[in-house]
């Protein structure tokens, strides 16, 4: 690992100011992807801006019709949250299956979404649930957030502050893990709303992609065995 400068701001505005002042800076959340990449010298930012001191970015807030998860909320906190378990149990289950306990104790939802690893679990939930990614500048609908492999709609200097999930009638997540890395070889998040069923797939493309079933009577993907249903899923 190369040497780097380190800042630990206490507020989002302070973090954003540091990001604009320091050239070649990177915000760091849980560091579960960035740190291994730096150790392998695949990334060597000169400045790290640690977001873990920003209290406003942590926590889960249950509101009417939606649940909002702060960007720096760790996977373990989502997995163990009674509020999440009551409103979107599939999301708690997904968070409880990310990586291993060490990763879940460090990794955060904001870090996962900003990194947008093609095999990450969270993007499938965000897309299938039609969540809104909230940043220091704007609110980005999930459909517009995931642009491609490790690419998002975030502009330089833009930080995710929270993710707002509308509450589905029912939802579920299943993944087939890579035997070695245990990352999702393919993961599918299904969410049922009054308006229809939304399906998002992760691991099987450069980024998560949606498969929509707006007409509840035409559900070919659910009437066939899963293996053939998988093969028929197309990016929409």
């Amino acid at each position: 690992m190369k040497t780097f400068d380190y800042h630990k701001p206490n507020s989002v505005s302070e973090a954003v100011a540091l990001m604009s002042n320091e050239k070649d800076s990177r915000p760091i959340a849980g560091g579960m992807s960035l740190l291994p990449t730096m150790k392998q010298r695949l990334a060597a930012p000169e400045v790290l801006i640690d977001l873990s001191g920003i209290v406003a970015l942590k926590g889960i807030e249950a509101g009417a019709g939606a649940i909002t998860v702060g960007a720096m909320t760790r996977h373990v906190d989502v997995a163990n949250s009674p509020a999440v378990a009551n409103s979107i149990p599939a999301l708690a289950q997904l968070a409880g299956g990310i990586g291993d306990p060490a990763v879940r104790n460090r990794g955060t939802i904001g870090g996962s979404l900003a990194n947008n690893d093609p095999a990450a679990d969270y993007p499938a939930a965000v897309l299938a649930l039609g969540a809104t990614v909230m940043t220091n500048r704007q609110e980005i609908p999930a459909e517009q957030f995931f642009r491609g492999m490790f690419e998002t709609a975030l502009a330089p200097g833009e930080l995710i502050t929270a993710v707002r999930f509308p509450l589905p009638i029912a939802a579920g997540y299943a993944k087939m893990p890579n035997a070695a890395s245990r990352f999702a070889l393919v993961g599918v998040f299904v969410a049922k709303f009054a308006t229809g069923v939304r399906v998002a797939v992760t691991g099987a493309g450069p980024a998560t992609f949606a498969f929509r079933c707006s007409n509840p009577r035409s559900r070919p993907a659910f009437s066939r065995p899963p293996s053939t249903a998988m093969a028929s899923i197309r990016r929409d």
Partner: protein, 293 residues
Amino acid sequence: LVRTINGQGHETTYAQIVCEKLGVPFENIDVVYGDTDKVQFGMGTYGSRSLVVGGAALSKASDKIILKGRKIAAHLLESSEEDIEFAAGEFKVAGTDRKKAFADIALAAYVPHNYPLEVLEPGLEEQAYYDPINFTYPGGAHVAEVEIDPETGIVSLVNYTAVDDVGTIINPMIVEGQLHGGIVQGIGQALFENCVYDDASGQLLSGSFMDYCMPRADNLPRMMIATHSTPCTHTPMGVKGCGEVGTIGSPAAVANAVVDALAHLGVNHVDMPATANRVWRVMKSASLLQATE
């Protein structure tokens, strides 16, 4: 000892042999290894040979110590060497209660105030070489039970039972650990571990444990392991090789279980490792073949 130790528990097993032979307390035995300044030339540990070869040399060296100890004891006890019996760490004049402990003999050997210096060299240090006249033939029977998800090809090992004959057992717990580790290594070969090279560039694609799949605890059932001892006829202690027994049985047992699980589809071979992808493809092509027939 010339064997290098890397987790097989040699410190314990070798000390047990010396403890048993010389009757000295287990905690008084130091096993020195792996330092070429201190130990003789050696070839290392491999081929399940550490106990078979190194342990036999240790047993022979212990016998030489006892032989010399009897000469010293005969002098101290004013008896003839033939009358000295050695058992449980004591040299005794047969048919009497006159005896010397192993420690007394060792003291006399190194502080030879009362010692047959004219006929016997002081010191109590022996060296032994051993080359087995034959291989040892450990054997066993392994039974694997697998379940295959017909939709994904994921193979789950749900039960594993093995009975192995490693000859005389010095330490049952260490033998069980060796069998356990060997079996898991073989399961890794049968189901998970795979070196993949890129056909065009020759680049190793499975270059880290994120891609090269090692067997992990959650891949394994609780194994039933037992032993059945038939002492080897040509090694001094009747011991046989142990480290590789598990590794030899398990790939065959697991691979055969996978093929057996797919036999109804007409499958009679699956390449190792039987990854989900490979099994799924084999199932698909077998099903297609059956459909066209």
